[in-house]
Symmetry: C2
Subunit: 194 residues, 2 copies
């Protein structure tokens, strides 16, 4: 499921600009199970417009550049429904946090502690955020999704709290770190490089 389709979905909620859709991914209800950046959203909207799946209303603004508010067309809605009718692909999860827990033996205990507590705090914050939402006038599916989020965040947060010591008091090997920057391998290991 690509960003184009997600944009159509976002526009079923309400008319929005590319900027607003981005925020929806970042902070809104989508944030829990998807993400997308400007670099993919703006081209996606341009494509959808060209194909007649969305329409646009340019609102002139004070100083800022014109705000382009997009709306879903009937065709766009049909295409979105068709996308939902497809067989879903497997969930894709990439959690660097879990990788670190799995390989905790190879981490500095203080680093590990920090990663752990930061992660836990994030879950708690997410849970709080969902709890703070008003559930009045919300459709069943949205409520279900919120509940799912709560079940997940609260469940794993509770597990983490209960088993914090189990992970953080395990003995770890010595450190011995080399050349690693910005998430890129900068080898150096043995012998020759190119």
């Amino acid at each position: 499921m690509d960003v184009k389709t997600l944009c159509l979905g976002a526009l079923t909620l309400r008319d929005a600009s590319g900027y607003e859709i981005r925020k929806l991914f970042e902070e809104g209800p989508f944030g829990h199970f998807y993400d997308a950046s400007y670099g993919s959203i703006y081209p996606a909207l341009a494509y959808l417009l060209k194909e007649g799946l969305v329409s646009v209303t340019e609102t002139q603004q004070d100083g800022r550049p014109d705000k382009k508010v997009y709306s879903l067309t009937p065709g766009g809605l049909s295409v979105f429904k068709a996308a939902l009718a497809e067989k879903p692909t497997r969930d894709r999860i990439r959690s660097e946090h879990m990788v670190r827990f799995f390989f905790a033996d190879y981490m500095d205990p203080d680093d590990l502690k920090l990663v752990f507590d930061t992660y836990l705090a994030e879950f708690r914050a997410m849970s709080e955020k969902i709890r703070s939402l008003d559930n009045q006038n919300i459709s069943q599916p949205r409520l279900f999704t919120r509940g799912f989020g709560l079940a997940f965040y609260d469940g794993v947060a509770a597990y983490m709290e209960e088993n914090r010591d189990q992970l953080l008091t395990a003995p770890s090997a010595d450190t011995g770190v080399v050349n690693f920057q910005n998430g890129k391998l900068k080898s150096v290991g043995a012998g020759d490089d190119d």
Copy 2:
């Protein structure tokens, strides 16, 4: 965190071929929080070998092509530890299932039911699989990770069972599907296309 780094991690567990590493991602303990395909693993191993972060032993075999068993070098281990010491990037989740639940209004009720029950069955199966593992002689971090998996799978599965009706009995709009194939938008929507 790229496939290169994950390969180093896999090789801390035991020496392995590219083929075996793939299986680790597919079925093994990594499957829960990462994935990778041959097309990324083989080039990654070639790179790591070139950089001296892994070594290789070619085992000749009966009929099959030579099996290349890779081992982590001290340099490789250092680089891996350095990678773990980096600040973890945000977890990235892409769940088409959740998208479908969120937009359940726009789905055919039978489709939705199928997606729901298949998803639930997957969680139950994952939970069973973890439960069937032998926890003897397993290090603390691995146990923690397994427990985390259980907390997650069992937690959300329970939630789904308890709230199945809530989601599946909600009224949905009419269907009206157009031209959608293989996860690609084939528009058609309104008016002109290029």
